[in-house]
């Protein structure tokens, strides 16, 4: 039997709570790799800094294995975040947990963070590092069968499909890794992707070692079918134009991410994907407001890239605060 005690509980190094009435030099919204690394850099520079988080670790927590973070050959997503959080906690950066940011405002020189509870946090500068969430397929039936076969977290929901037939949609690392995880539990796994693999060759090779996995590339998903539970999907072979049905009990959607930027709409400039536009210094269109990681328009959403963008944003914020003083 395994026990996965959380870092917030089981460690003497724990981030203290955040004093909501205090005015900070810098508040960081988001507690994934970008936010945590920004906190580390800002605190070491001597800024008064606080973290406003919803889910410590962000999407990394839902990742089974991370094998491309320099210095760690293999870590579960959770263990990697544990290392990150403990490092930040050792510097006693205060953290506001389970916080939902509703909107942002700049009033004179202060950035106001309006929380969904009605409370307002104030800082001279902020870093937006709110990450992203799984993208949906946007096909007929996907919403209807959400939680009735359609799933977005393979490690969470995989055990519910023991001995059943499942489909994984997507061709990147997340999709291939989900397929590998599911191959150990499910009767069969069919990976369906509309173009060619984007995943690293090393994980594709691993996937190919499982005999219960089928791969359909250049195949588009048109519809999720069933009733009351999902029974299969309709796909179109892009080469021949033929449509057919693949029967399955579950569909795991791993086709990339959408930025969590809704609260900042109309406040900072975004591109047509609703990613926050930043320059090389992580500055947004509003002075004193910086952004980092998956929520921004930087290419390649990777843990190590998000973390280093967080560091850059903190260093720029530090320069900004020093200019104000």
């Amino acid at each position: 039997m395994e026990f996965k005690l959380n870092m917030d509980l089981g460690n003497s190094k724990k981030m203290p709570g955040l004093d909501k009435t205090k005015v900070f030099d810098l508040l960081i919204v988001g507690s994934g790799p970008a936010g945590l690394n920004a906190a580390l850099y800002a605190k070491r520079k001597g800024l008064s800094v606080g973290l406003v988080g919803k889910k410590t670790g962000g999407q990394v927590i839902d990742t089974t294995s991370v094998e491309n973070y320099l210095g760690f050959e293999f870590k579960t997503g959770e263990d990697l975040i544990k290392e990150f959080s403990q490092h930040v906690a050792s510097l006693e950066v205060p953290l506001l947990k389970d916080a939902e940011v509703a909107s942002l405002e700049k009033i004179e020189d202060w950035i106001h963070i309006n929380l969904s509870t009605g409370e307002v946090l104030k800082a001279r500068s902020v870093i937006l590092a709110t990450g992203s969430r799984p993208r949906r397929l946007g096909v007929k039936g996907e919403d209807d069968f959400l939680g009735k076969g359609v799933a977005y977290c393979a490690i969470c929901d995989g055990p519910l499909f023991e001995g059943l037939d499942v489909i994984v949609a997507g061709g990147g690392n997340s999709a291939v890794e989900a397929a590998i995880d599911l191959a150990k539990i499910a009767n069969s796994v069919t990976l369906v992707h509309r173009s060619q693999f984007r995943a690293d060759q090393i994980v594709i090779d691993k996937l190919n070692t499982y005999s219960n996995v089928k791969v359909h590339l250049e195949t588009e998903i048109l519809e999720v079918q069933g009733g009351p539970l999902m029974s299969g999907i309709v796909v179109k072979d892009k080469a021949t134009g033929e449509t057919r049905t693949i029967e399955a009990n579950g569909l795991f959607v791993e086709i990339g991410y959408l930025p969590n930027s809704g609260y900042a709409k109309g406040f900072v400039q975004m591109n047509n994907k609703e990613e926050i536009i930043v320059n090389a210094l992580n500055e947004t269109s509003v002075p004193g407001v910086f952004a980092a990681g998956d929520v921004t328009d930087i290419p390649y959403k990777q843990i190590i890239i998000a973390a280093s963008e967080g560091a850059k944003a903190a260093l720029t914020a530090n320069d900004y605060i020093n200019r104000l003083k």
């Binding site: 039997m1 395994e2 026990f3 996965k4 005690l5 959380n6 509980l9 089981g10 460690n11 003497s12 889910k55 927590i61 839902d62 959770e78 389970d98 939902e100 969904s116 509870t117 009605g118 409370e119 959400l146 939680g147 009735k148 076969g149 359609v150 799933a151 977005y152 977290c153 490690i155 969470c156 929901d157 995989g158 055990p159 519910l160 499909f161 023991e162 009351p228 539970l229 999902m230 009990n249 579950g250």
Partner: protein, 216 residues
């Protein structure tokens, strides 16, 4: 051989040092046909040994029918948490809270001992308006990192309202019940066996769904 390794025991002792009052883990089992009962009891006994304030009580769903009824226990293994006055506050775990669920189980012990954090006032007003009984089932798997968060929220609501009974249901142990509620994504939250949503949603969403069960 103990289930909890030494490192984990040490961490839990530190956490339990923050407990305020005594509390009881009342564990319901059954003689036959319960695969996970033995492990659950061993686990609970190990937890009991980590703090003087934690007490273990063994109950049988058949022999102790009256008490099972009082705590709305319908399946085994079921862990019911009682406060220092041996009162049931609406906090229950069906199935073994191992894996990631230790992160809802340990905080619940602290909460029942009176060492929890208060909810913001805006929520308390809404919770005090709940007049009709509410049952919240939170279906989880032990490999789900964010399920414990949903269980914690449901339990927090139960603590704040005498009308709310909140229970974790480990989906694989209680396969038939999970099947009945079409659980294929976790956490799945089912309120009064009627209203449901998926995911570790904000407390606002829990309260919105609960409001649907209340008579006008």
């Amino acid at each position: 051989m103990s289930l909890l390794n030494e490192q984990l025991q040490g961490q839990l002792r530190t956490i339990f040092a923050d407990m305020k009052n005594d509390m009881t883990l009342a564990v319901f089992t059954q003689k036959d046909g319960c695969e996970t009962c033995e492990d659950t009891v061993s686990f609970m006994k190990e937890i009991e040994a980590l703090s003087d304030k934690i007490h273990f009580e063994a109950l049988d769903i058949d022999a102790d029918q009256e008490r099972a009824k009082a705590y709305n226990v319908k399946m085994v293994p079921s862990i019911v948490m009682l406060n220092d006055k041996k009162e049931y506050l609406g906090i229950k775990f069906n199935g073994i809270p191992a894996g990631h669920e230790i992160n809802s189980f340990i905080p619940a012990i602290l909460e029942v001992s009176g060492a929890g954090e208060a909810l913001p006032e805006s929520f308390l007003n809404q919770i005090s308006a709940i007049k009709d009984p509410v049952n919240i089932k939170v279906f989880v798997t032990l490999s789900c990192p964010h399920c414990a968060g949903a269980v914690q929220k449901a339990h927090k609501l139960a603590l704040e309202s005498p009308m709310i009974d909140a229970e974790m249901v480990e989906a694989q142990t209680f396969y038939a019940l999970s099947d009945q509620f079409n659980v294929s994504s976790v956490p799945k939250i089912v309120i009064n066996d009627q209203y449901e949503f998926v995911g570790n949603q904000p407390l606002e969403v829990f309260l919105e769904e609960i409001a649907k069960t209340q008579s006008a």
